[in-house]
């Protein structure tokens, strides 16, 4: 090849590279790998001590405690939903004292319940999927993922204490991991997506601040009947 051709090619590629360099604003961030960047800096040292606990794997933690510690608490503590609901409607403070667990952030009360219900509808229009239930005559929601709201499952387990973990980020990651565990091992296997019009029995937990709040149960067990 002639030198002239090579120089022309080099100039073209350099020009292209220059254009790309100028057009790609340093402040637009590629988050595909989940890294959160601050003003273009990726270094932990530059950003200060990381809030993330690199040594803690919340999914592994949950898989270790689920059968041995978590599920027994749910199954042993679960009260009949109708009983709890009636107590809440009658006297919220008394119901909290008898059946409730104060959430870790002191903001709400958690109740562990079991019951049977008919499924009116399964709605996955939102990523916060919901199965609409009727427990006796009470309408409640069952959250079925993939996106879950709240921290009911973690807050229902008194052995999971904020003091035992690095910080609020690690502590919250346990809640996400519990929800993920339910989503992956319980939801699909239960067949809830085909349960509209059927009866189910369930065990789960919900969190409320006041008697009038809507009830959204995060399940730990679902059995679909006829």
């Amino acid at each position: 090849m002639r030198l002239g051709d090579n120089i022309r090619r080099l100039c073209a590629v350099l020009a292209l590279t220059l254009m790309i360099g100028m057009l790609s604003a340093c402040t637009v961030v590629n988050l595909d790998d989940g890294t959160i960047l601050f003003g273009g800096k990726e270094s932990e040292e530059e950003a200060g001590a990381s809030v993330f606990d690199e040594e803690f794997d919340p999914d592994q933690y949950v898989s270790e405690i689920w059968e041995s510690q978590a599920l027994p608490v749910f199954l042993d503590s679960a009260a009949e939903f109708s009983t709890v609901y009636e107590a809440i409607s009658k006297d919220f403070d008394a119901a909290c004292e008898t059946y409730g667990i104060l959430s870790n952030d002191k903001g709400s009360w958690v109740f562990i319940v079991k019951g049977t219900a008919s499924v009116s509808e399964v709605n996955r229009e939102s990523r916060n999927g919901i199965a609409a239930l009727l427990v006796d005559e009470t309408a409640v929601q069952l959250q079925i993922g993939p996106v879950y709201k709240g921290a009911s499952l973690r807050d229902a387990l008194p052995f999971i204490k904020f003091s035992d973990f690095k910080n609020q980020v690690a502590f919250s990651s346990i809640s996400s991991a519990l929800n993920r565990y339910v989503d992956e091992t319980i939801i699909t296997a239960s067949g809830i997506d085909d349960a509209a019009g059927k009866q189910i029995s369930f065990v789960g937990a919900f969190s409320i601040k006041a008697a009038a709040d809507d009830i959204m149960i995060t399940p730990v067990e679902i059995q679909v009947g006829e």
Binding site: T17, G21, V28, F38, A47, S103, K106
Partner: protein, 345 residues
């Protein structure tokens, strides 16, 4: 040989260009926070009678070591602490560490020299504070941390931790509710060295990243500053007006972003801040900002004082050291019930 030389030159040229790009620092505008109104005393102080109130107060001097009170959030913490200490029969000395770990350490020295009986503090640094608290502990002075936590336990006697991560998640859930589950959004983070900035951003993304149709089109630090957020929002708008939401690490930045959108005549953008200041409340009620997240500054400080008092009188707080306190979502549905970091529910 020539081809190799050209390839090497090309590679070098590309590297120079890309390294040059990465070394570009964001504009370093260290404008202080905008001036803020003097907060009023909250109407209903939730001051419960402490347990064992028959026992005489311990009394003595308590050091309140806080960031600058230019920020109304920290001012509310100070007010809460001072009011409660006074009620319980303590005197106090309020000092500012200006978010500087070195200055903070000097203030701990001052507290020790003044023979303080206790310290209440919203700390300057998750890394460096432990050493200062240990020094005070060794001198017989217990410390209660309020607001921001440190990662070590066993040194402070209590950490009343404002759960920013939970608050950011809750705020983001409201954000998704208002924006819908798809759209373009922009993020302004706080000062990069501040743990709160990382924590809130992480909390926002913990929710929003679960919606693949939500697209982050720009993420920059606006250093907690209104003017900086205004300027950066203005720049972004110049090249892209198809924005459905803006999330900000605090209210002062959200106010700047909302002002820029308003100045450009762009309506209907969901703008989220954090802290739950009176300014954010007013902006939400005026339809400019959409969401904030309340940190219970006043109540957390009072709880911290109660636990210090209980410790001084009985030798124990009766609680686990690290305690989480929820942050509450503020939006048009409840903003009118917000006053100086207290939500009247």
């Amino acid at each position: 040989m020539k081809r190799r030389a050209l390839a090497a030159i090309l590679l070098a040229a590309m590297m120079i260009l890309f390294v040059g790009c990465a070394a570009e620092k964001p504009a370093d505008t260290t404008t202080p926070d905008t001036t803020v109104e003097t907060p009023e005393t909250p109407a209903n102080n939730e001051t419960e009678t402490p347990e064992n109130s028959e026992e005489p107060t311990a009394g003595g001097l308590v050091y309140i070591i806080e960031p600058s009170q230019d920020n109304p959030y920290f001012k509310a913490e100070v007010m809460g602490a001072e009011a409660r200490l006074t009620e319980l029969g303590y005197t106090f000395q309020t000092v500012s560490h200006d978010d500087d770990a070195t200055k903070q350490d000097q203030l701990y020295d001052a507290a020790i020299a003044a023979k303080a009986v206790g310290i209440i503090s919203d700390n300057a640094s998750a890394d460096a504070t432990a050493a200062s608290i240990q020094k005070a502990k060794d001198a017989g002075i217990p410390t209660v941390l309020i607001g921001r936590e440190i990662n070590e336990t066993g040194i402070a006697i209590a950490q009343i931790v404002s759960d920013n991560f939970q608050g950011a998640r809750a705020g983001a859930e409201k954000f998704i509710e208002l924006v819908g589950e798809s759209g373009n959004y922009v993020e302004f983070t706080g000062k990069e060295s501040d743990t709160a900035s990382q924590t809130r951003s992480a909390g926002f993304h913990d929710v929003i990243d679960q919606y693949p149709d939500m697209v982050l089109i720009a993420q920059q630090s606006a250093n907690w500053d209104t003017a900086e957020a205004y300027n950066k929002m203005e720049s972004i708008i110049q090249s892209n007006q198809d924005i459905q939401g803006v999330i900000c690490g605090n209210d002062t930045m959200a106010l700047g972003a909302a002002q820029a959108l308003k100045a450009a005549g762009i309506e209907g953008v969901v703008v989220m801040g954090f802290d739950g200041s009176n300014e954010s409340r007013d902006s939400i009620l005026a339809g400019e900002m959409s969401i904030s997240v309340l940190q219970q500054a006043y109540a957390n400080a009072q709880l911290g004082v109660d636990q210090l008092d209980l410790f001084l009188r009985t030798g124990s707080t009766g609680q686990e050291e690290k305690q989480l306190i929820e942050c509450k979502v503020i939006w048009s549905g409840n903003a009118d019930k917000l006053e100086t970091f207290k939500l009247d529910e």
